[in-house]
Every structure is written in structure tokens, then in C-alpha cells.
Amino acid sequence: MPNFDFKEAVKVANQALQSTENRHLSDVEIMILEGAWNRLEYDQIAAQQQYATSYISQDVAPKLWKLLSEALGEKVKKSNFREALKRRWENQPLTSSHEPISSTSISNRATLHLESNQTEFYLDRPPIESICGDTLLQPGALIRIKAPKLMGKTMLINQVLRVINQNYDWRSVNLSLELADRRTHLTDLDRFLRWFCLNLSRELNLPNCIDDYWDEAGMGSKVSCTTYVEDYLLNQDDRPLILCLDNVDLLFPHPEVYEDFFGLLRSWYEKARSRANWKKLRLVISHSTDVYIRLNINQSPFNVGLPIELPEFTAEQVQKLAQHYSLDWSLPQVVNLMEWVGGHPYLLEQAFSYLKGRAADAIGQLIQEAPSDVGIYSNHLREYWSNLQQYTELADALKQIVNATEPLPLAPVLTHQLYSLGLIVVTSAGAAPRCQLYRQYFQSRLGAS
């Protein structure tokens, strides 16, 4: 049995919290535990990390002790938590003590269905991969991948990184904001940037030296973050560093963080034009277009870098995808399915994994049930539906579109929003439902006009 050190204590605390609160310790909570472990006073703990003492002593710490008290089933204070955790550690079975701590465990939860099925298989969408690859070879490159959800953004990032790693000995970080705690990390710029830097060093297998570079009181968190990246992460190594930020849209509900963070990224991009250290940095940012926000107009819009939009699969690509599911489909068969779900990667994969191993005529039933609540897309469609119910104007516009036989010209703002949601296609004649599935489902939900 290993010694009961601080690392073990955090593990125990995390397990206890997991069972009662269904969450893990946040960075600041771990920081308090560590300080208390070393018998530091609150003001010392706060000073170490440039937090306000009152924030630590009156807000976070009392809540932490209350949480731990509930989780451990006994009264826990700063003075006795060490012993309380040790008792729990001694009594627990060994098997469960190997749960990874903090963010890594969340990453498992966060894995998308799309990837878990398909980690090995990637369907090429030329020329996007080569454009991304070529761009990342440029010093200070920046790529923005944007598409509605479930269009394969994460898979594209993984593929691009895979190819680069095969050909070059570069450093890379692939960080999804899904890993951040929505309540603690995404709502406060200072905490977000600390979380961000911590994870960068962790992903690069570098020791966490944040405290050496971080001087929030002296220069603010943005410059602290810049300094950490420049003087520590980039300075370490002469190899280019690819930094992929996935699911950036999670920040969109928090403009106070989003605007400042994107201002920071933009300033890095500008530094990379002329400073050698920064030329090593290659940024890839991916976000879903479902939510749109407006940037602070006092900063340049985030319109730098190469925008990548993910188109739908072509019939040939869909045929290849079918082959991957051991379905030997002819082009007319493919076109038949695509009349229903278009070239939508997720919808197609759902269909293929359902049809795999089933009789050839199962597709008839699939299509028949698809727009209903018992079909394979019911969850996907319900999610759209509940989303739309919050925006009656959008719902009204969509109702007109699904009931029209011809493409319908609508107010540009509405068109753009529905397009961003991935519900419609836009041509010069107007807006039309993205696929037959959506048309039928929303016709039945929204009613005929």
C-alpha cells in the first residue's frame, strides 16, 4: 500500500465527491487542500495563487469543508480533514483507487458517440485535410473550423493531427473545452486562463510552473497567460507547437470570458507575424455554429486565419462510408438514403450502424420510422425540437420552409440562424429544409401551414 500522501488524499476526496456530488474537485479546491495539507493559513494560500483572501477564506473554503463533510459523513474542518481523508483511504477497497483525477476522467465522459465508434476509421473529405495540413506548415498559422454540431469537426482535428504527427516531430496539444468545469472555469477569465495553462503544460507533459510566471496582481491574467506560453511553453523547444482548441462554443454563453480570451488569441496571432518564438505556435480553433454571439465591437472581430466549413458528404463518400460498415451499396441505394438524410455524417453513420447486419429491406422500415419518435434519430430530433421551442420566431420561419414546395426567401437573420443550426440549406432562390427527414419531422411537429 502506498503512503498516504497528498496525491492519494485528492483521489479519496474526488471519489467521495463523485459519489455524492457527481463532480470532482476544482483547481482552486485542490489548491486549498494542498495549502491546508501544508498547514498554511488562508491568506498565504490566497497570496500564492493571487486570489483574494476573502474569496478563499469566506467563499470557497467553507463550501469545500461542507461538501467534504457531506461526502465523508463526518464533520470536516481545515484542522482535521487530513485525518478524515486518511480514515476513508484506509477503509476503502484498493480497486477503486485507480480512478484518474480531475479533468482526464471528464474527458472519458465527454467522448462523443461519433468518435467512440469510429476512432480508427476516418473518411477523407478532400481537399479539406490537405488545406489544413498545408496551412499548419506556415509559421503562426491559424485555422478556424466551424460547422453545425455532429458534422465531424473533432474527427477532422484528430485526423489532421494524426497526419502531422506521422510526418513531423512536432508538439501538439488537443484540448477540448468540454473538459473544463462549466460553472467554475468558463465563467471567470482568471480561472479559465489558469485552467487553460495548466492543461497545456499537462498535455505537453511539462511540469506545472504556472506560479513562476503568473502574476495576476502585477500584470493581469491575460499577460500572465501570454508570458507563460511564450517564456515557458514555447521557449522550451524549437519545434512548432500545434494547439487545437475544440468545442470553443462552450464559451459562447459567457461573453465576459469569450471576448477577452479571443482578444488574447488574436494578439498571439499578431505576435506570430513578427516574433520568432510565436511563429512556432499554430492554432486550430473549432466551434459549432449552433450558438452565435457578437464580439465586443471595440476589438477586431475574430476574422483572422483560415476559415474551414465542413460540407456534407458526397454520394461517393457515402458509398465508402457504407463499405466501412460492410454494406456493399450501389450508388442508387446511396442516393436513395441521401434523399432522406442528405450527406449528414452523423445521420448517415447512425443509419449504417443500424443497418449493419440487418436484412437488406430494413432500410424501408428505417426510413418509415425515421421522422417519428420511435425512429433511430428520435433523440437527435428531439434535441432540435426542444431547442426550437425556445425561439418561436425561428420555429415559425422553419414551419414556412418545411411547408413550402419551393425554396423560400426569408429574413436574412432568420435564414442565417437556421442555417447555423444545420436545419436548412440556402441557395440563391431561398431556404429549403436540409433533408427530407427534417422536413417530415418538423412538418408533423410544427403542423402544416
Partner: protein, 781 residues
């Protein structure tokens, strides 16, 4: 053939700054100006719209300066500030950025601790002097980019700009400052950034103006188009024709052309580019605007609704007139900063055709509609206050009598506009004209118009024809001459004969009594009331004191009474003291009724509703009666009025709303006293027997309310009219309907509404609205 493969790093770049070695970088006039000025140590600033190539220009200039041995560093303010940042952190961040940008060696934390006693800005100043200027021994330029991001900070940055200015001023005393130069870049106006004109660095600096690309500067862009056509210059020309040289759009369109165009045949270049612009930039631009450019312009204009309305109105003027003179007011500068318009010579024009198509009239009107109500929602109470003030002012003017003349004139005009009525069949005028007078022997007549023998003969003939009443509108203040006892007897005994008298209405006028032969009940005064413009608009029915008349009733009332006797209608009084004939009550006017201002309203005065006919009734001359040349039917059952129309008796000079012409000397405008009396009798009779309306007006409080109501209506019309022309049109409609309404009310109901004050308050309170929209909410810093 000019086909060539592009080098791998040859690419167009819409959005973001171009790397120093970018082959598609277009060198402009501003490049040389900026570089030369900085090399000479001049402070520079580039305050311009977004995506005009500021940052690219900075990068290229830095590169060029470095090759001349100048040390350069840029500070991106957007990488330092955040919404919660404190001044200490912000200035500290700038110090750190300077350390990293100039690669200084310094233990920052220790240095800061050692200078803990200084304010944040003093520390930066100290840092520049003791660290930066000592460690870097060459000339150095600090580029401060994204300067407008200071507007997002929650503290004022004036100190920062003062510091920059101080660095300049220290050059005189400390030579090392001559090596230090600042360049400021951003999308803001100097006055947005710092208010104090004495502390601002912008008036000591050199302003660099960024223009669109000119065709002769654009050769670096041509190479990428070579494989799409024979004539890349023509393509480029077509592109610039659309973009006006706007750097972002030009790069983007070049890129679109390189990617999307197949080989373009000669002469078709502009057609193909037109098609490309339509399909890839303009149609559904909101969805295709990637990287964001048009949406940035849109958002910058629409972001702040109080200012948005002004910007949109300004833009509207530019669209309507093509060009407006450029000014340096905040609104003009803000509109220029959006990038939508650009200064060309001394005028503002829409930058390019793409903006023209995207931000077209339809777009503009839509957003004007959206923005206007919210922009004006604040002053709605102001509008009410303004309207009430206007109403107060006009009511005040009116109570001083300053509007009386206009109101009377407008009343006259309405009266003249009425459609004609038929002559009153109940009346007959027997007129004594010059000829009648002359035909009577002077010995019999004396100075009178009618001699006793003539009168006797006349009355004899008249009585045979049985009229209901005979009014003798002739002064007879002398006794019947001897020898005419028959006449005297007749006058005394006649049941239906009424003679005039004239009561004394002033000190110098002792009045004229009726002839002694007449009983008191057979006389009535013929006094008339003149308005200030000597026009008769009122009628007197009775007065309290009619000395020397033997009767308090007027001549016209007496005649009406005689006539109505046969209808079994006699004079009654209402409890209020008004005279009543049958069911009709003759309400008297007051001293401020209708348009009048402080008139003498004593006695029973009513307004005179003239019969709108050229002749009040049939007329016949005295001579014809005396000669028996008449049909007795025109006399039977009528009121006969006998009076003179001969010029020599000076009873023909009266003015009515009808004959009050511009030229008072016109002969035909005169009307005789007997006709006025006939009108009065006619008004009484037709009111009682025909229900013809009498003229009435609102009570005083009602009139004030009416005027106030029109002030509010005027305010509302002004408020609801976005454009001046709308206001003119709507006001025109309202004025016209008010005019017609007042006229119809007068015609049908006899209502005399205060038309003139209503029009004045309406127009005044409506036209004050534009003045109020000029008093704008100052832009929020």
C-alpha cells in the same frame, strides 16, 4: 500566354494581417508616409475603419524600420485588457509586453516591488526612462495596436495618452527621448479615446490616412490571376471597380476569382467578376460573409440605438445625394470609422459598389424602421411638454388679442366660401335710390329722402296689399308737416309699422329719437356694432338703456316680432336671461367669445349669420310702388323694409364679411344699412322658422382645450414622421382636413371654431420635433 503556376506561398489573404514577406502585400502611399515619418521620429497615428490593412501596414513598416537599425516592438492592447482588469494590472501588462517585445533583461517582479510607491502610470513612465531607454541604445518605435480596446476597460485611460504626450514633450529637456517614437493604431476617434485637448497626443502626431488600393499599386495582386485569363489587368480593374480598393474585399475578391473562375475570355472580364460578386458576396451576404467583414460594418452601425438613428440618417443623406460634405463632428467620424463611407476630396461617399448593393435603400429603410421607435422612445414625454408649451404660448398670444385680426379674416373667408342661398321670400326691400329722391319735389321733401306725401301714398298702397310688418329705416326726427294729419293718424294707428331710432352709444352722440308719431312699441333702434376692422359681424337684439329710443328692442327684432306674431310666437326670456323666440334661444356672446378679444359685449348680442345670397330679398324701387307698377303678391304677408340706397344719404358704406374686399374703395362692395337690417331680420326669422343655424362658438375653456389638442396632434405627427418630407406631407393632409372640417362645421352647424390658432399650434409643435432630435444623447464612453 501569360499562364504560370503560382508559387506555394503566393496566396490572397482576406482577414488578418499579412506576414512581412507576403507576396500579395500592396504598398500604398500611406506606407511611404508612415515609414518616413517614423524614421524621422514623428509620432504617428492611424485611426481608421477596420480591415483597411492597418496591422499589415504596421508589420511591414516594422520590418522596414528594423532594416534601418530601428528597434521596434508592438503592443496589442487587446492582449492586455479585460473587463475586470485594474489600472495596476493593465500598466503592469504593458511593462511586461515591453520587456518581451524589446527582449529586455529585468526581474520584473522585483523591479515592480521596488517601485511600489509609484502610481501605475508613473511606474510605466519610470520604466521607459530608466530601463527601456537605457537598455536599448538605438532609435526605437513602440507600435500600440488595437488602441480602441481601451474603450472596453472599466477605467479611463487618459493617463496613458498623457504619458505618451509627455514622452514627446520631454524631448526638449531629455535628449534620450528623441530616440523614442510612438505609433498608435486603431478604430476609434481621438475624441473617443481622450477628452482633454491639452493632454491628447493626437494633435502633436502625424495622422496617416489609409485609402483604398489604387490600380497602379495593385500589381502584386495580379500574379494570382494570371492563369485564369489573358488579361489579369482587366480582371483586377473589374475587381477594383467593385471594391473601390478596400483591402479586405479586394483580397477576398481576388481570392474568389483565382479559385472560382475558369478561363475568362477576352472582353468578358467585368461580366464574370460581376457574376462572381453577385453570387459570392452580395446574395445572402449574411451567410457568406466569412471571414466576417460586412457584418462587422453592420454591427458597428447598429450597435448603439441612440447613435444608430443618427448614423443611419447620415447614411441616408449620402445615399440620396451621392455625396455630402465631410465634417469632423463625432457622428461623421463614427460613420467613417464603420468603414461604410470614405472621404473623397471634401465629401463623404459610400466606399464601394459592394456596400452600395448590400447596404441598400431597402436595408436602410428596414433598420430606420427598427431603430426609430426606440430612438425616440425617450423624448415622448418631451414631445408632450413641448406641445403643452406651444399650446400655452399660443393661448397666451390669443388672450392678448394678437390673433384676433387673423381669426376674423379667416372667418370672413369661410363665410364667403359658403354656397349661395336663395333670397329670403319673407322679405321685400323698397329702396329709395337717387332717382326716387330727385323725383320728389324739394319743397315737400326737405332734406329727407322721403317726403310726407310720398310716404303717405306708399303706406296706403302697402297696407292695401296686407304685409305683416313694415319697417321704416329712415330717420324722421321731425314732426309730420302740417296738412298731413292723415299720415300722422296712419302712423299712430298702424299695427304693423316700425320706425327706427338711434340710441346714444357715446358721449358725442346724443342719439336720434323716433318720430313722435310712433308709439313706443312701434320703434326700434337701428344701432349696429362694428368690429375693430369696421366690419359688422354681430347683431344687437336689445340693450339695457336705449335712450332716447322709447323701446329697448332693436329695429330688426321688432320687425321679426311683428312677423312672428301671426305664427303665435312672441318674445320670451329664458331663466338665464336670453331672448327666446319659439324654441330658438339666442345666446348672447361674451367679451372673449370666438375670435373676439375684450369687445364690449353689453346688451343682447348675437353673431350675424348673413344670408349667403347676392340679394337678401326681392327689391323694388319706391317709384314703382308709387306708380302702381308692382304685383301685390310680393307684399302680402311679408316684412317690408323701406330704406335708402341713394349715395347722398351716406347709409351705404357698411362692410360685411362679404364685401370686405382688399380694396375698400370698390363701389360694388358697399352695402346699404337697410340691407344689413334685412339680413338681421332674415337671420331671426329663418332661425325660428327654418331652423337655420345660428353662429356659435366654444366656451373659453373649450377653446383652450381645442388649441392644446391640436398642439398634441402636431407633436404626434412630427414624432411619427421619420423624414422631413413625410412631415410636410402629413401636416399638409392634417391642415387641409382641419380647414375643411372647420368650414363644414360652420356651414352645417354654424360653429365658429378657432381655426387659425389650431393651425399655428399644430405646425409649431410639429416642426419643433426635428429640433429635439438634434439634441442628442451624448455618446457613451
Amino acid at each position: 500566354m501569360m499562364c504560370s503556376e503560382n508559387s506555394p506561398n503566393y496566396k490572397y489573404q482576406p482577414g488578418g494581417s499579412l506576414p512581412p514577406d507576403a507576396p500579395t502585400y500592396v504598398t500604398r502611399q500611406a506606407d511611404r508616409e508612415f515609414y518616413q515619418a517614423l524614421l524621422n521620429g514623428e509620432y504617428c497615428y492611424i485611426l481608421n475603419a477596420r480591415q483597411m490593412g492597418k496591422s499589415s501596414l504596421r508589420i511591414h513598416t516594422m520590418e522596414n524600420l528594423k532594416s534601418q537599425g530601428v528597434t521596434c516592438a508592438e503592443i496589442e492592447l487587446s492582449g492586455i485588457g479585460s473587463q475586470q482588469i485594474t489600472p495596476q494590472q493593465w500598466y503592469g501588462g504593458i511593462i511586461q509586453e515591453l520587456i518581451s517585445g524589446f527582449r529586455l533583461s529585468l526581474d520584473r517582479r522585483r523591479w515592480l516591488q521596488a517601485h511600489d510607491d509609484l502610481s501605475p502610470v508613473q511606474r510605466l513612465s519610470q520604466f521607459i526612462e530608466t530601463i527601456l531607454l537605457t537598455q536599448v541604445q538605438t532609435s526605437l518605435v513602440i507600435f500600440i495596436d488595437e488602441i480602441d480596446s481601451v474603450l472596453g476597460l472599466n477605467f479611463l485611460c487618459d493617463d496613458f495618452f498623457v504619458l505618451i504626450r509627455n514622452c514627446y514633450e520631454k524631448r526638449a529637456t531629455k535628449p534620450e527621448y528623441q530616440r523614442l517614437t510612438f505609433a498608435l493604431l486603431g478604430a476609434a476617434t481621438p475624441s473617443d479615446l481622450i477628452q482633454d485637448p491639452h493632454a491628447t497626443p493626437f494633435n502633436i502626431g502625424h495622422a496617416i490616412e489609409l485609402r483604398g488600393f489604387q490600380l497602379d499599386e495593385c500589381y502584386p495582386l495580379m500574379k494570382g490571376l494570371e492563369r485564369n485569363c489573358h488579361n489579369p489587368l482587366a480582371i483586377l480593374k473589374a475587381i477594383l471597380d467593385w471594391t473601390g480598393g478596400q483591402p479586405f474585399l479586394t483580397q477576398k475578391l481576388c481570392w474568389l476569382a483565382a479559385v472560382h473562375l475558369d478561363f475568362v475570355p477576352n472582353g468578358k472580364e467585368s461580366d464574370w467578376i460581376n457574376h462572381l460578386v453577385r453570387t459570392h458576396l452580395i446574395e445572402h451576404w449574411e451567410s457568406k460573409d466569412e471571414p466576417e467583414h460586412l457584418r462587422t460594418i453592420r454591427d458597428r452601425i447598429l450597435r448603439n440605438s441612440s447613435r444608430t438613428a443618427i448614423l443611419l440618417e447620415l447614411y441616408q443623406q449620402i445615399i440620396q445625394r451621392g455625396q455630402i460634405p465631410a465634417r469632423n463632428t463625432p457622428e461623421y467620424l463614427e460613420l467613417r470609422l464603420s468603414g461604410l463611407v470614405i472621404k473623397q476630396q471634401d465629401g463623404l461617399v459610400v466606399f464601394n459598389r459592394i456596400y452600395h448593393m448590400v447596404f441598400d435603400r431597402k436595408w436602410l429603410n428596414h433598420h430606420l424602421d427598427v431603430v426609430k421607435p426606440t430612438a425616440k422612445s425617450t423624448p415622448i414625454w418631451q414631445l408632450l411638454v413641448v406641445s403643452l408649451l406651444v399650446a400655452l404660448a399660443i393661448n397666451g398670444l390669443r388672450s392678448l388679442g394678437l390673433l384676433q385680426q387673423w381669426e376674423l379674416q379667416s372667418f370672413d373667408q369661410f363665410m364667403q366660401l359658403r354656397p349661395p342661398e336663395s333670397p329670403d321670400p319673407r322679405l321685400l326691400l323698397i329702396t329709395i335710390d337717387e332717382q326716387d329722391v330727385q323725383s320728389q319735389p324739394v319743397s315737400e321733401r326737405g332734406v329727407a329722402s322721403l317726403s310726407d306725401p310720398s310716404l303717405n301714398r306708399l303706406l296706403t298702397k302697402l297696407e292695401q296689399a296686407k304685409p305683416r310688418a313694415i319697417g321704416l329705416d329712415i330717420y324722421r326726427d321731425y314732426a309730420v308737416r302740417s296738412g298731413f294729419t292723415e299720415l300722422e293718424k296712419r302712423l299712430q294707428q298702424s299695427a304693423n309699422l316700425v320706425a327706427i331710432c338711434h340710441y346714444s352709444d357715446s358721449q358725442d352722440n346724443s342719439g336720434v329719437p323716433a318720430p313722435s308719431a310712433f308709439k313706443p312699441s312701434a320703434q326700434g333702434f337701428n344701432n349696429v356694432l362694428l368690429d375693430s376692422d369696421r366690419v359688422i359681424r354681430r347683431q344687437l337684439l336689445a340693450v339695457g338703456n336705449a335712450v332716447p329710443c322709447a323701446n329697448k328692442f332693436s329695429f330688426n327684432l321688432q320687425l321679426a316680432k311683428q312677423y312672428l306674431k301671426q305664427e303665435n310666437i312672441s318674445i320670451k326670456y329664458t331663466p338665464d336671461g336670453y331672448i327666446q323666440l319659439g324654441t330658438v334661444v339666442f345666446k348672447t356672446i361674451e367679451s372673449n367669445s370666438a375670435a373676439y378679444h375684450r369687445i364690449n359685449a353689453s346688451g343682447h348680442q348675437i353673431l350675424l349669420n348673413y344670408r349667403a345670397s347676392r340679394q337678401i330679398s326681392e327689391k323694388i324701387s319706391l317709384q314703382k310702388i308709387l306708380d302702381d307698377d308692382f304685383d301685390p303678391d310680393i307684399i302680402r304677408d311679408r316684412v317690408i323694409l323701406i330704406g335708402t340706397i341713394a349715395q347722398s344719404f351716406q347709409d351705404t358704406h357698411w362692410q360685411t364679411p362679404y364685401n370686405k374686399a382688399q380694396d375698400p374703395n370698390k363701389q360694388q362692395t358697399k352695402i346699404a344699412g337697410v340691407e344689413i337690417q334685412a339680413h338681421m331680420v332674415s337671420q331671426l326669422l329663418s332661425a325660428v322658422l327654418d331652423r337655420r343655424p345660428l353662429i356659435w362658438s366654444f366656451s373659453e375653456p373649450m377653446e383652450i382645450l381645442w388649441i392644446t389638442a391640436w398642439a398634441v396632434v402636431g407633436g404626434l405627427v412630427g414624432y411619427g414622421s421619420k423624414q422631413r418630407s413625410w412631415w410636410f406631407a402629413r401636416s399638409g393632409v392634417v391642415v387641409l382636413s382641419l380647414y375643411c372640417g372647420c368650414f363644414v362645421m360652420l356651414l352645417v352647424q354654424g360653429a365658429w371654431l378657432p381655426f387659425v390658432p389650431a393651425i399655428i399650434t399644430f405646425m409649431l409643435s410639429g416642426s419643433l420635433r426635428p429640433i429635439f432630435s438634434v439634441t442628442r444623447v451624448p455618446a457613451k464612453k
